[in-house]
C-alpha cells in the first residue's frame, strides 16, 4: 500500500468543490448511509433544491444556522491503494488563515476552476498560497466540462493560462485534469467523453503520486524532543534522545554534531519500541543514542558536521498573520521552532504581498489579519534553522502571543 496522502482543497460552493469531494467519498465507499441520510434530511428541511454535501462536516450549530463553513474540516477516505486525509477549507473571508493551515501539512493542493469561467482571482490566490507553503504537488481540476461539451480547446486554453501564471510561482509539479464532478467524468475512471485527454483520472492520479521523495532525505536534522533516561535498575545507564526525524537519513556510525553547542559524537544506535533500526528518515519517531555522554537537551538539533543548519538569531520570514491586532515593528512575540521555544522582537516589516496581483507593497509598516508579508526578527537565543524552501520542518515557525498564548501567525524562513 502506498503512503498516506494529505490533500488540501479550498474554494466556494459554486465551483463544484463539494460535489467533487462528495463524489470521491461516495465512489470510494467512504460516505456512510446514516451520514448521507442526515444530510439529505437537513437539506430537505432547509428547503435546498439539492443535497448539500458541505453539511457532512459542517456540524457546528453556527455553521448549520448560517450555512457557512467556519473552519478547516478534515475528511478521511481510502482506496485499496492508498489512504487520504483531505483538509477542506472554506472559500470566504477567513480563508487565507484556513488555507495556510490546511496547506501547511499537505502533499498536494487540489484546485478547481469552472470550465466556463476559466482562471479567476480565487484560483490565483489558491495557487499562490500553495506555492508559499511549498505544497509539492498541485492538481488543477477543470470542472463542469459537461457544460462546455467536453471541448478540448476550452481545456487547453485554461491549462495554458494557468501554466503562464504558475511560472511566476514556485510550483514543482502541476497536473491539469478535465472533469465533471456532477457526472463523474475523469473523477474515478477515465471518461469516454474526453478521448483527446491522455492523462489519468483524478483518483488514479492521487493514488499513484509518489511523495516519499518530496521529503528532504539529504540534510540530517534531528530536533531533540525528549531525553530518555529510564533510571531503572536494568536500564541504569540508558540515555537516548527521542524525536521525529526532520530531514535526512540517520544511520548508526554516523558522525554527528549537536547544535547549538557544537559538541561532536557518533550515532551509537537508533532505537524504537519495536527494536533497533538501521536507518531513520522523516517522519519517523525514534530514539537516537550517541557514543559519548554529552550535555544534550530538548531544543537541541543533531546534524552532520559537514552539513549543518544555520545557527542564528536574525531571521527573515514570510508570515501569514492570523489575528485582528496588527503586527508592527518592535512587537515582542513568542516563537516555536522545531522543539525550541524562544522570544523574539520584530525588527522590520518589509512588505505586504497583494495575494491577487503578487505585487509587493513596501509602503506598509504593519500586517493585518489574513495579510501575507515579509518581516525580520531577532530572537533571544539562537535557532538552528534551514530555509523553508529547503526543509518545511526546520524552516517553519509559529508566532505566539506571550500574554494570552494565542497563535498569532505562521512564519516561513527565507
Amino acid at each position: 500500500m502506498a503512503e498516506l496522502l494529505r490533500v488540501a482543497t479550498a474554494g466556494s460552493v459554486d465551483d463544484g468543490k463539494s460535489t467533487l469531494i462528495g463524489r470521491l467519498l461516495y465512489d470510494t465507499k467512504s460516505l456512510f448511509t446514516d451520514q448521507l441520510a442526515a444530510v439529505e434530511r437537513t437539506s430537505r428541511e432547509r428547503g435546498d433544491g439539492y443535497v448539500d454535501l458541505a453539511l457532512l462536516t459542517d456540524g457546528l450549530r453556527a455553521e448549520r444556522e448560517q450555512g457557512i463553513t467556519i473552519d478547516v474540516a478534515y475528511r478521511y477516505f481510502a482506496t485499496p491503494r492508498r489512504t487520504f486525509i483531505l483538509a477542506d477549507t472554506p472559500g470566504h473571508v477567513q480563508y487565507t488563515r484556513n488555507m495556510v493551515t490546511g496547506a501547511s501539512t499537505a502533499d498536494l493542493a487540489l484546485l478547481l476552476v469552472d470550465a466556463r469561467k476559466g482562471i479567476v482571482e480565487q484560483t490565483r490566490r489558491h495557487a499562490f498560497l500553495a506555492s508559499l507553503l511549498r505544497v509539492p504537488h498541485l492538481v488543477l481540476c477543470v470542472n463542469k466540462m459537461d457544460l462546455v461539451d467536453f471541448d478540448r480547446e476550452v481545456f487547453e486554453k485554461i491549462k495554458e493560462d494557468f501554466r503562464r501564471f504558475a511560472a511566476k510561482l514556485e510550483i514543482v509539479d502541476v497536473a491539469t485534469i478535465p472533469v465533471s464532478a456532477l457526472t463523474g467524468d475523469n473523477v474515478v475512471s477515465r471518461s469516454p467523453s474526453t478521448p483527446w485527454y491522455d492523462g489519468s483520472s483524478l483518483l488514479h492520479h492521487l493514488e499513484e503520486l509518489h511523495i516519499a521523495s518530496d521529503r528532504n532525505l539529504i540534510d540530517v536534522r534531528f530536533p531533540v524532543q525528549w531525553v530518555v533516561r529510564p533510571r531503572s535498575e536494568e536500564l541504569h545507564d540508558y540515555r537516548g534522545y527521542a524525536g521525529q526525524v526532520a530531514g535526512g537519513v540517520i544511520k548508526p556510525g554516523d558522525d554527528v554534531i549537536v547544535l547549538p553547542s557544537g559538541l561532536t559524537s557518533r550515532v551509537a544506535g537508533i532505537d524504537t519500541y519495536d527494536g533497533p533500526v538501521d536507518e531513520a528518515f522523516p517522519p519517523m519517531s525514534v530514539i537516537v543514542r550517541l557514543e559519548d555522554d554529552l550535555d544534550v537537551s530538548r531544543g537541541d538539533m543533531i546534524a552532520r558536521p559537514n552539513n549543518q543548519p544555520t545557527v542564528g538569531q536574525d531571521l527573515h520570514l514570510m508570515v501569514s498573520w492570523m489575528v485582528d491586532a496588527p503586527l508592527r515593528r518592535r512587537a515582542r512575540v513568542g516563537i516555536k521552532h522545531t522543539t525550541r521555544s524562544v522570544r523574539a522582537m520584530v525588527t522590520d516589516v518589509s512588505y505586504r504581498v497583494d495575494i491577487d496581483t503578487l505585487h509587493r507593497d513596501e509602503t506598509v509598516d504593519s500586517l493585518g489579519l489574513n495579510d501575507i508579508g515579509r518581516i525580520a526578527l531577532r530572537t533571544t537565543s539562537p535557532l538552528c534553522y534551514d530555509p523553508y524552501r529547503r526543509n518545511r520542518n526546520t524552516g517553519s515557525v509559529l508566532l505566539i502571543d506571550e500574554v494570552s498564548g494565542t497563535t498569532l501567525g505562521a512564519g516561513m524562513i527565507l
Binding site: 456540524g59 489512504t83 495556510v100 527521542a242 521525529q244 519517531s285 522543539t339 498564548g405 497563535t407
Partner: protein, 304 residues
Amino acid sequence: MPVTGYELTHLQMLEAEAIHIFREVAAEFERPALLFSGGKDSIVMLRVAEKAFWPAKLPFPLLHIDTGHNFDEVLAFRDRRATELGARLVVGSVQAAIDGGELTEDTRPGASRNQLQTPVLLDSITDNRFDAVFGGARRDEEKARAKERVYSFRDEFGQWDPKNQRPELWSLYNGRHRPGEHIRVFPLSNWTELDIWRYIAQERLEIPSIYYAHSRETFERDGMLLAVTPLTQPRVGEAVVPRQVRYRTVGDITCTGAVESTAATVDEVIAEVAATRITERGATRADDRVSEAAMEDRKREGYF
C-alpha cells in the same frame, strides 16, 4: 513491516505522528494524564504512549471516569492493563459523586449517566491539577469532532469554544495556557475506525471480549439493539431476542447499542468494518442521536 525506498505505511505514519504528539505534551506540560476507558481507541492510544516513552515507564497516570454503569469485562481489563504497565490509575467515580450528594441522577426512563461524566471529569482534572488530558477521540467519529484540534484548548470551566480555536500548522503545537486552564490532546485525531482495527491486528492488542461477536439477550429500542442487563430492561412491547452481536463502541451500558455480527476475530472485524455503510456512533450511540449537534453541546460543557 519492511520499509523500502524510504516509504512508511500509512499506519506507521499515523503512529509516528501520535508518538510525536505524546512526547511534545510530556515535554511541555507539568501534569498530563491519559484518559483510559478500556475501550478500543484508548487501548490503541495506550500502546502508542507505551512506544513513545519506551524503555522508560509512562511519565503520567491513567485517568478513568467510571459511570458505575460500565461493562464488568471492561473494568477488569482496565485494572489489569494498568498493573502490567506499572502505571498509576486515577478513577473519578460518578457513583461516588451521586452517593455524596454532589450530583443528582436523572432517573427518568431513557436517562443515562453520560451527562454526569462531565462534572466528574472536570472535578478530577481540577483535584489532580492535570494540565493536559489525552483522549482517544478521532475526527472521523462525529461532525463536531471533525473540526477539533489535536490540542483542544479548554477554559477554567472546561469549555470548548469551536469558533475560537487556535490554528494548528505543520507539526508545531502551541500548548500555552494559564493556570486553571487545560488542554485535551487527541493523538489519534487522524485515525479512522478501520485504522484502529488494523493497528489492533498489527500490534496483536488484546481488547475486551464484547468487541467480538457473542450471543446476548437483546431488544430493540429506537432502532438500536440494547442488551438485557440489570440497568437496561425491556419495556412492555419490546421483545427479547437472543442474537449474535458485538459492540462497535463501548460506553455506558445504558446508551451503547450492539450490532448484529458474526465477526469473532480481528480479521473478521476488519472485513466487517471495511464493508459497513454506517458510522460507528450512528449505529450504536443514543447519546449522539439526541440532536444534530448533540456532541457539540456536550463538548462545549467539557465532555470529550
